[in-house]
Symmetry: C2
Subunit: 558 residues, 2 copies
């Protein structure tokens, strides 16, 4: 073992947080020696682009490693254009915190070497979570976290060797892969999820149903609430044994059951690990050793609203960690404020996203309440107008907004981002009412969806009762009458498949309200939600006491 | 003259603020009598959609009057579904504030009638600004503010009677009409603007140049800085006489020189008018008479940042005024917080928008500073990736952000809306760095443009000097050397048409910096701006003292 050098700063990990830390630091301290070790041969590839390479949307894997002007992000680029030393194929196998050295094993080089550091940064990333069932791996049973996973799949798909596939896990990656497999390649795809609905960590049931209906429409076979017992791989396929005894045969099986932080190095050198199993860091992203920082998919974060420890492995956060760590290392104390959980995911023709707390995660808020709405993302008369369904969660005791979920063919991303800004600024429902978005018909309606949602929250304060798609079953069991206030044409096109539907279009409701049973709960439904609210005001004025508005309307039922 | 009735609430104006006030008020106070008078025959049409009807994007004018479910917004709809009385073709000709009555003249009914009110709302809108030149009107010389303007143009265009057109005024409407005329109909179109650049009220020069280049690319003839002397209409066309003596002949001339608040009624009854010429209101949108409120295109507003009186006629604001007035009338005191000036406009393939103060409007801020950047709106490897150029104005004395301008084929709207939220929450540059947008390749880059802009503002604080496209002429006159750090392929595709360009790609800059003249100002240019910043850090480290980064890069030069 040789001591082969020393650097002011050593960074372990070469994908997102690592290179970002190194590049920012090299700009702040151009004279510092900065060495980055990356275990894999590839440096700084766009992990999040892998599903789009698998799908064929991205033509070659090299595109995921290129800069906008065509250069590859390789050792030479980092040296000449970014001012730091990046060494690929160099695995750090141990950290000696006493002597401040790391042990490095280079691919193809026998033995190992020691490298000294002044400050150390861990950006060791994540690895696939070990599934809670037994697996006999084969080339046809894979995770989807490394470039080779994407490359191998693409090779098989291109040569027509994958007619059927099973994806285990319907989180972001599982849903993206369902589109990649079933879309371009036309692979008969089954998506298995042990929870009762897709995207279970982020979406509430009712919103998830919209995504499930899209997957079914796109010929994906869904198996929800289905536990896997074991998976047996073969040379040319695999058998997925479900808990009930059923066996699904497929040419290809992908395990998309999530990732765990890569903490082995940190553990072995005695750094503190948090309750989520990720590396514990303070608000400056410093570990329990003041000379060691950590960022990216290996660290535990604080939720910005609840203050709870959370584990959120996302490339966008990793980049921000890199900046914060570099600023701190450069002597400019900078806090990382915690995480709001903003996310976006495309599932075939649907845009899906959210930020903040969903209903389950908002459990600590006794005053939590929700409103729903379906909205055109630009005026209905504008040719490219599409709809989105939004659910907003807020605290009715003080009006603070807590979270937003969005699903639809329309522009979900804009609403998620705007809401993320408002959550960051600790906004209330009243703040949303004063929001002044840009407006022109090619981009937006004159009244923004957030104005409508805030207006509903105010109406709820005045006594209007809103329910959402997740409440339909319970309302049906509670013997509610469903009052459909839509026009006849809409009822034909999007029928309400519910018992006990009374049909009275809104503009005839006042004269015909006498026919409604005053002693029963009346749930009002229209297409998107606004007419139902109008009808509820009308019925309240006529003395009806037990009226519920179905937020988001028929459109929110998919 | 008969007294023909009285209402708790009378509303004058039936397009945006009026119906919104009436509908909201009818929900809050279902037992109130509410009467809305509209001078025109049509009620509640989408004025902002008229350019898209003119262009043919919207098929029939009826679509601009329809609700999402197909019903027309007419008197019957407002009565049966919204709970108030709307009367079209009824012009209010006078207001008697002593007796609290309005005088109403109905179309086709001789004489007039008096109608009493408890509270009155003025939503009288705007009318075309009188152009500062003489006009002999004919059917071929028109404004574009009323449905008939759009209908008449469409009829002529459809029957092939418009081969050439002149649009006077390159504000929002002028630019939208340039697309409507030149795009679908292929009309040879000349756009005249007396200011030296398009969209002069909102865009800074450099950003406006990008729009001008797009207009030229789309075969619109631009006449900037061109004053009109007079316009002579004929039965089949018109002659536009420019100040220099030149005469432009065209089959059709549209005057898009802005609008003025419709304040005649307010003036005649003695209500206070503000310095902008619009009706003065307090923060509750109440006029100088406590029984009269006003909203929409007839009122003067306060700018939310400067506190100055401004006149901003926009349909989206009108809708929010309606809500605020209705809440106040219903006994729920609600303030209108003023206006940030968010706007969006589509000009052919470019999305254009902004919010807050531009450079000129930020004149009161001694510490005003700007940064520019060109960004991909999603990763470059993603097939639908497009770029946007952004300019951010902030106050370097305290970091407060003041304004954003955006131009590009990419998603400008999302950034404008997010920035509007941050401006509302009085954010600083540091706030932007902690922004947590949603991220996935189909929607966004891992690092948001706002993070980059905030990072540049921080770099400026550390001493990096940024310039923008509007500074190119001055820098050239100052005998600067232009250092192009792009790759050869980029230089060929997008050449830099400037004197004294030195070409050294970024990754060879350190070894070749010795060839650069240390005594001269060096302006560094790359394609989008990030490499130039990196190069500036490198040159500063090498001891160069007078280095400027061209923000937004070559892409921002169009």
């Amino acid at each position: 073992m040789n001591t082969h050098g020393t650097s002011d700063f050593v960074i372990i990990g070469g994908v997102a947080a690592g290179p970002k830390t190194a590049a920012t630091l090299a700009r702040r301290l151009p004279r510092a020696s900065i060495t980055l070790f990356q275990k894999e041969d590839r440096l700084s590839y766009a992990t999040c682009g892998m599903p789009y390479f698998a799908s064929g949307d991205v033509d070659s894997f090299a595109e995921l490693m290129r800069l906008p002007w065509g250069n590859e992000r390789n050792e030479q680029f980092f040296r000449d254009a970014r001012g730091f030393t990046a060494i690929a194929g160099a695995e750090v196998t141990a950290i000696d915190r006493i002597h401040k050295t790391v042990t490095v094993q280079r691919k193809g080089v026998p033995g190992s070497e020691e490298h000294g550091y002044g400050k150390l940064v861990l950006a060791t990333g994540a690895h696939p979570a070990p599934p809670p069932f037994s697996i006999e791996f084969s080339p046809r049973v894979r995770f989807f976290t490394r470039p080779d996973d994407a490359l191998e799949f693409r090779k098989l798909a291109q040569t027509g060797q994958v007619g059927s596939a099973v994806i285990v896990g319907a989180g972001y990656i599982g849903c993206e892969l369902a589109e990649a497999f079933g879309g371009l390649w036309g692979i008969g795809t089954t998506l298995i999820e042990k929870e009762p609905h897709v995207l279970p960590a982020t979406l509430d049931t009712g919103m998830a149903q919209l995504v499930e209906q899209e997957l079914i429409r796109q010929n994906i076979t869904l198996r929800l609430g289905a536990g896997v017992g074991k998976i047996i791989g073969r040379e040319d396929g695999a058998a997925v044994h479900l808990d009930g005894g059923e066996v699904l045969e497929a040419d290809y099986v992908v395990l998309a059951v999530g990732v765990r932080p890569q903490v082995q190095l940190a553990c072995e050198c005695g750094l503190a690990i948090g309750p989520t199993g990720a590396i514990a860091v303070d608000e400056f992203l410093r570990t329990s050793d003041p000379d060691i920082y950590a960022g990216g998919d290996c660290v535990e974060l604080r939720h910005r609203l609840t203050g709870e420890p959370v584990y959120v492995p996302l490339g966008s956060l990793a980049n921000r960690h890199g900046r914060v760590i570099a600023e701190n290392l450069a002597g400019n104390p900078t806090k990382y404020p915690g995480v709001l959980g903003s996310y976006l995911v495309k599932v075939f023709d649907l845009n899906v996203g959210g930020v903040g707390l969903n209903w389950k995660k908002a459990r600590a808020y006794a005053g939590k309440a929700a409103v729903w709405g379906t909205f055109a993302d630009r005026p209905d008369y504008y040719p490219e107008s599409k709809t989105i369904t939004l659910k907003m969660i807020y605290d009715e005791t003080n009006g603070r907004v807590l979270g937003l979920q969005g699903v639809g063919q329309g522009d979900v991303a804009r609403r998620v981002d705007v809401f993320a800004g408002f959550l960051q600024c600790r906004a209330t429902v009243d703040t949303l009412l004063d929001f002044e978005p840009g407006y022109a018909p090619p981009y937006a309606e004159a009244v923004d969806p957030l104005h409508h949602l805030a207006g509903m929250a105010q109406a709820a304060r005045r006594g209007t009762v809103f329910a959402g798609p997740e409440d339909v079953d319970q309302l049906s069991r509670a013997d509610a009458v469903w009052l459909d206030v839509r026009e006849p044409g809409e009822q034909e096109e999007y029928p309400l498949a519910l018992p006990d539907v009374v049909i009275i279009p809104l503009d005839r409701l006042r004269e015909n309200a006498g026919h409604l049973p005053r002693e029963r709960k009346i749930v009002i439904v229209c297409q998107r939600g606004s007419r139902a609210y109008q009808a509820a005001v009308m019925l309240a004025d006529l003395g009806f006491k037990d009226v519920v508005v179905l937020g988001g309307g028929r459109a929110a039922l998919g």
